[in-house]
């Protein structure tokens, strides 16, 4: 549905994107991740035809963004990072304006407005001037604007930025409810935002794609080893030695803290490390106080991937 191939873009001497490639199938939801200034917005601006790439090609539904920008725009609903609102209009006037500009009219326009206002929770604010709306309602109005023509593709740049937790939940639910029927790219610099909505992510840093795949796969490839926390009552040194003796265990670190000894055991993702420790504990008659896998957060993954990208580029790793 969306194909980005080798796209580069510079602003003056600043390289914003460097040979960025990724693709997205119909109906997929993609979380586009990266720190501020990584190139997320620039990529989205190129896909939506607002900017042209210096090099590379982008096609949307098979249509090139450079040769047929109008056809591409018609298929996309776009929420830019700075929500584009006319503050002197009310919600109804604004959505009517965008709907008309996108070629809707008559009963169809009316139906779509009703749907958007309902779906985005704007019923009570429908007649209020946008200038008087709170940040959350402005964001929803922006989202309604992107949905008004029922596009196949949604491109949402930081759709939850500046919202309170409840509002974030609302937007998240809305995106989830659109899953399946629409192809969606949404960007965020907050990693926890992604997992509840999708597991397909592209991570970008300093204008380069540093990871592309399922969240789980990325964790594995980025971190190299699984991690299990073990706590028990008994002799720390003996227990550590026994844990080290387990099949495939790469390292056993004693965790700081008083009381019963606790260990961080690292081993391969394949094979069940937890089960192995359990068997060992039963045989050795340890009394376990703690035994669980400690999945890496997306932050850990992100930091590891960024470090690796730096190392590959020969640059000193940034302190994260």
């Amino acid at each position: 549905m969306i194909e980005v191939r080798g796209v580069s873009k510079s602003f003056g001497t600043m390289v914003a994107l460097d040979a960025v490639s990724f693709s997205l199938a119909r109906g997929e939801i993609l979380g586009f991740l990266g720190p501020n200034g990584a190139g997320k917005s620039t990529t989205m601006k190129i896909v939506t035809t607002f900017l042209a790439p210096d090099a590379g090609t982008v096609t949307v539904d098979g249509i090139d963004v450079l040769t047929e920008p109008l056809a591409v725009r018609g298929r996309i609903g776009y929420l830019p990072e700075n929500v584009p609102l006319y503050l002197d209009m009310n919600v109804q006037e604004y959505l009517t304006f965008v709907g008309r500009a996108r070629g809707l009219a008559g009963a169809r326009l009316k139906d779509r407005l009703e749907w958007c206002v309902e779906a985005c929770g704007l019923v009570t604010e429908y007649r209020k001037p946008i200038g008087e709306l709170s940040k959350g309602y402005r964001q929803r109005t922006g989202l309604a604007q992107a949905l008004v023509h029922d596009p196949d593709i949604l491109i949402l740049d930081e759709p939850t930025s500046g919202l309170d937790p409840l509002q974030i939940l609302g937007i998240r639910e809305l995106i989830k409810s659109l899953a399946g029927s629409k192809t969606i790219i949404f960007s965020t610099h907050i990693l926890q935002e992604v997992s509840p909505v999708t597991d397909r992510v592209v991570i970008i840093n300093e204008g380069r794609i540093i990871a592309d795949g399922r969240v789980g796969d990325l964790r594995r490839s980025a971190m190299g080893s699984n991690r299990v926390y073990v706590g028990l009552r008994g002799d720390a040194a003996a227990a550590a030695a026994a844990l080290r003796g387990l099949d495939g265990v790469a390292s056993v670190d004693t965790l700081p803290g008083g009381g019963n000894p606790r260990f961080e055991v690292r081993g391969p993702f394949s094979g069940d490390l937890v089960a192995a420790v359990e068997t060992l504990a039963r045989d050795a008659r340890w009394q376990l106080t703690e035994l669980h896998e400690a999945p890496y957060s997306l932050e850990d993954t992100f930091i590891a991937l960024t470090r690796r990208a730096h190392a590959a580029a020969g640059a000193p790793p940034e302190v994260a």
Binding site: F50, A52, G74, N82, P84, L85, Y86, A101
Partner: protein
């Protein structure tokens, strides 16, 4: 076409959604009415030459103030990105904006119609000259507005847009003056006369005031407006790269 109409509606109502429209129109009428009355009874002739003669100066200030928001405001609000990702051609959006501002100017100009009515009551004016004077005023506004639309597209900020617009309108006005042309000719023979003839507006506007409507003058106003509007479109499309 439908797209241009949608943009036109939005932009035209944007003028009247805020007090700016009313302030502009009142300022336009008070200033013009006042200045006309100032000299009207002294000269004692039943015509509107004073009004039309002053218009090029006054509009140098007035028109860029009307057009400054056209693009600069969208850039500040972020709606520029919305407009440029709608399935509309840049020139459709541009035309919608330009025509909205132009209609706003025509509304202000219509507000001066009591002047010719008054003149007709007081004397026996040359109706044809007044009509072609109004045509001149409409064409002059179209040209200044094209320049103002262009300068608004260059800027992010309305104040810069209005100042640049005033300077640009002033330049187009001043190169049409005889003494300026003569001075430039002194430096570079032929250049001043060339600019005066093809870029300067004085000659074209004055012949309309005298009641002469020639194809050349119409082509000048419409053509030069078209040039600035095309430049505006090209600039906005070029920003992509």
């Amino acid at each position: 076409m439908q797209g241009t109409l949608t943009i036109f509606r939005r932009e035209f109502s944007a003028y009247f959604n805020s007090p700016i429209a009313y302030i502009f129109i009142i300022a336009f009428l008070v200033f013009n009415g006042g200045m006309v009355m100032n000299g009207f009874f002294l000269t004692g002739t039943a015509d509107l030459r004073g009004f039309f003669g002053m218009l090029p100066f006054f509009l140098i200030l007035f028109i860029p103030a009307v057009s400054m928001r056209l693009w600069a405001e969208d850039k500040r609000l972020g709606t520029f990105e919305l407009l440029m990702t709608l399935p509309l051609r840049t020139r459709e959006v541009m035309l919608g904006k330009y025509l909205a501002a132009y209609c706003f100017y025509l509304v202000a100009l219509l507000g001066t119609l009591p002047l010719p009515v008054m003149v007709a009551q007081l004397g026996n004016p040359d109706g044809g000259a007044m009509a072609s004077g109004y045509l001149g005023a409409a064409l002059l506004g179209a040209l200044y507005l094209a320049i103002g639309t262009f300068t608004s597209g260059l800027m992010r900020d309305q104040i810069s847009a209005v100042i640049l617009g005033i300077v640009a309108c002033f330049l187009v006005f001043i190169v049409g003056e005889q003494w300026v042309a003569a001075t430039i000719d002194g430096w570079l023979p032929g250049a001043g006369s060339f600019l005066r003839r093809y870029l300067g507006l004085a000659e074209h506007y004055e012949s309309l005031l005298r009641g002469m409507i020639t194809l050349g003058d119409l082509v000048y106003f419409v053509g030069l407006s078209g040039v600035f509007l095309t430049l505006n479109t090209l600039w906005l499309e070029g920003r992509k790269y």
